[in-house]
């Protein structure tokens, strides 16, 4: 039994324009203590996947198929009350716009105390004590716990949100673009802090980001999402050394390197697919240089190749570099 596993998950949003198929069959497996980087562009379903795990999707979202197994138990079958107890205590999350994740009318410390008291049978003073520890842990002055969010800078709020996510010592932490709003120098500090804490606390982590470079610096395993599906996943080192899916390859080719000069970047033509009416067959086929007839009719399954997983009919034949 693996620590955390998603099997065949499908989810759509019912909207006025039709069903937006945000997750179209996702399989994922994680061991305890692993850090998984989930890469993909905006609107490819990675945030929806994070929210599905905690069952925090809006009302118009419908999970139609699949299982989310945590310690072998299906989270999708839990009652609302059971789920409430699992949230934050076992699985917690750092949200995309952490800037707004703090309620402006309450003191930062109180918001963390609240999370602790919702799950643990300790006194308020003990919880406050824990907040001080957490603040020192993430490099914030514990004296500032009594301040309101608007008195914090962006970087401090980010740290506070991370402190809050760690408040109940969760086993799994989902971080959704935790540093996009920050400057590179702050980003570096936060990423290193999270890395350090993960090692120290033995946490398992899912790191959702569009920035492959960040994944390469922090994660063990990487999964690339495209059009609501995982198209490739394997160890970060392997994946970056030899990306197998044409989309992953294109993504890596289109990132300008800092230190080596390249003649000219190659871009991926076209636009990401609409999840309202995803293309038939392989969802990448309209943009793929290697696409053939079969790509337009049959959906490639995620299959084992070179120690990783890839969803492409012709993965073996596509060269790199």
């Amino acid at each position: 039994m693996s620590f955390f596993e998603i099997q065949g998950l499908r989810m759509h949003y019912a909207t006025s324009r039709g069903r937006v198929k945000a997750i179209r069959g996702v399989d994922l497996k994680m061991d305890k203590g692993q850090a998984l980087g989930l890469a993909g562009e905006s609107g490819c379903g990675k945030t929806s996947l994070g929210l599905s795990i905690l069952r925090l999707l809006p009302n118009n979202a419908h999970i139609t198929r699949g299982r989310i197994l945590f310690h072998g138990e299906d989270l999708l079958r839990k009652s609302e009350e059971e789920m409430r107890r699992i949230r934050w205590k076992y699985i917690s999350m750092v949200f995309q716009s952490a800037m707004n994740a703090l309620n402006p009318v309450y003191r930062v410390g109180d918001q963390i105390v609240e999370a602790i008291l919702a799950h643990e049978d300790i006194t308020k003073d003990e919880a406050k004590e824990r907040v001080s520890e957490l603040f020192s842990l993430v490099g914030l002055d514990p004296g500032r716990a009594g301040q309101y969010p608007h008195e914090y800078s962006g970087g401090m709020r980010q740290r506070a949100v991370i402190a809050m996510a760690l408040a109940c010592h969760p086993e799994l932490l989902i971080a959704d673009e935790p540093t996009t709003a920050l400057d590179v120098i702050h980003q570096k500090q936060i990423i290193e802090k999270m890395d350090e804490l993960r090692e120290k606390l033995g946490m398992t982590m899912i790191y959702i980001t569009h920035d492959i470079a960040i994944i390469s610096e922090t994660c063990d395993v990487m999964a690339v999402m495209y059009g609501g599906k995982i198209v490739e996943s394997s160890k970060v080192r392997d994946l970056l050394r030899r990306p197998m899916h044409p989309y992953t390859q294109g993504l890596i080719r289109s990132i300008p390197p800092l230190h080596d000069s390249v003649g000219r970047l190659t871009s991926i033509e076209g636009e990401p697919p609409s999840l309202l009416s995803p293309p038939r067959g392989c969802s990448f086929n309209p943009r793929c240089a290697y696409s053939r007839d079969i790509c337009r009719t049959s959906e490639p399954p995620l299959r084992q190749l070179n120690g990783g997983l890839v969803a492409c009919h012709f993965a073996e034949e596509i060269p790199w570099p």
Binding site: I185, H210, A213, S254, I255, L258, T266, P272
Partner: protein
Amino acid sequence: MALITTENLRKVFPVRKRLFGGQEYVTAVDDVSFKIHRREVFGLVGESGSGKTTCGRLLLRLLEPTSGSIYYDGVDITKLTGRELLSFRRRVQMIFQNPYESLNPRFTVYDSVAEPLIIQRIADGEERRRRVIEALERVRLTPAESLLRRYPHELSGGQRQRVAIARALVTEPDFVVADEPVSMLDVSIRAGILNLMLDLRDDLDLTMLFITHDLAVARYMCDRIAVMHKGRIVELGSKEDVIENPQHPYTRALLSSVPRLHSLSKT
């Protein structure tokens, strides 16, 4: 000769007024002097709040400098008014960060691209239409005719940014300020826009001020790079010098903070 020269440029913004107290100020651009040569892509790099965007706006007279001067083709543009200002506007343009915001949602593609022509009273009727189509084709939006009556919300992010670029280039300007033109776009379409801009620079002999927070993008796009920090330029040099051999501690800190695609450099 330099196309643009700034001397001791300074911009101070008033921030909140107190009821009985005085006015508080913040200095966004502080004593900035540089030259941009013809046909050069000049990069302005820094974090948010470093003053790089304010600097770009000053060059286009979207903001009035508190002090200092800006020479464009030898003329001090801080003193232009009326007709002279309008003809200056014809020679300079801007590409904005957010293509979702820089096009008026109530304008069709045709309206947006034609607007500079209407304001500048260049061409009308069939000639105007011809120029609009030409501009759209130049940014590789084809077939251009089919896009003319579309609204921005019917376009993808990449298409919108191309429309914005077409609009900026329709009056055939000499100088373009590009303010983070790809930071809101998906990774997979960024390279396409960057390549397009480099091609256009060559085809149209453009001079460009390229504002970005991304050092790797700056390296790809620019000839020279200026690093801004707290309103000042802390380092200026060729891109190789600035990135491979940074002198200022802030530039070094910035460079060491950029996450690297580790295994890639080995291949």
